[in-house]
Amino acid sequence: MDEWSGKNGVEAFAQIANVGSEGYLPKNMAWSRFLGPDDWDERFAAADLVVAHAGMGTIISALMAGKPIVIMPRKAAYNEHRNDHQVATGKRFEGRPGVHVAMDEFELPTIVEAAVSQPPVGAQRLGRYADPALIETIRDFIVSNKSR
């Protein structure tokens, strides 16, 4: 992303909690190691495009804001996560409007280009709450006094 941002003159901000084993630090992007919830919200709101690993919190936030997002799953092979559940997430979200999936850093620049050249997805925002059937199931459980 740092290379892409420098090459295209696009202003970018990065949160890098764990600097990789090669010790690479951004040359073109502003960055910080940690963002508190309020700072995170502010940066998120200001962005035209979000590029992140395939964590559900970031994906849900982007879907709710109607903001395009590029996700690149963390991989267990690179010690980026315990298992490859983010790869599974990437596959499940492939093709969903506003969500663009890059499976590795070689694919990333092309996918980012594609994401920025697409029209905004604001009209297809995700609502605030879960599937009503799920909420109803949990509500019924809370009201009832029976165990399994």
């Binding site: 508190g36 919830p37 309020d38 964590g55 559900m56 919190g57 970031t58 849900i60 936030s61 879907l63 315990r82 490859d84 559940h85 983010q86 599974a88 997430t89 596959k91 499940r92 995700l126 605030r128 709450y129 879960a130 599937d131 009503p132 059937a133 799920l134 909420i135 109803e136 199931t137 949990i138 509500r139 459980f141 809370i142 009201v143 165990s147 399994r148």
Partner: protein, 190 residues
Amino acid sequence: MVLDSQHPPKLVREAHRAKKGFQLSYWDNAMEGARVLAVASGGGHWIQLLRLTPAWAGVDCAYMTTNAGLERDLPGGRGSDQRFYVVPDANRSRKLDLVHQVAAVGRVVLRERPTVVITTGASVGFFALVVAKMIGSRTVWLDSVANADELSLSGKRAGRFADLWLTQWPDLAKGQAGLKDGPSYRGSVL
């Protein structure tokens, strides 16, 4: 209101109860005596938990998470009179953090004595369910929507401690793929 899990607030809860007595409503009747503790670690698990809040609208509910900054997300907002507990964060690679987390979670659950504990994970929710079962609370585990190909490790283990054990992916539910035992599917947070 941020509550220190080390010194839980006896008086605060009693004040809350007393106040509730003056606001008898439909839900106070339907949900009489119900007391929910909603639990999730910060990040994606917490965001998923917030998407379920209508399930306990009108019910006495306390929240527990791992990041104090998330109080702003409570249905009543920051500084509301909702009970909000912050416990230490932890992950499997740092065992000592897990010990601190278990202790803090245990203190909150014992103090709250909820009738129902609901969690979307991760370890903080698992520990809450285990302690909740020991004191006779009823429990809900909703496995994270992030686990699309298989249940999380804590999600699998939570089955023993969950009265309502849910996955957000139909193909991971009991009866699918030859699964004899497993969670149910009733929809997802998306």
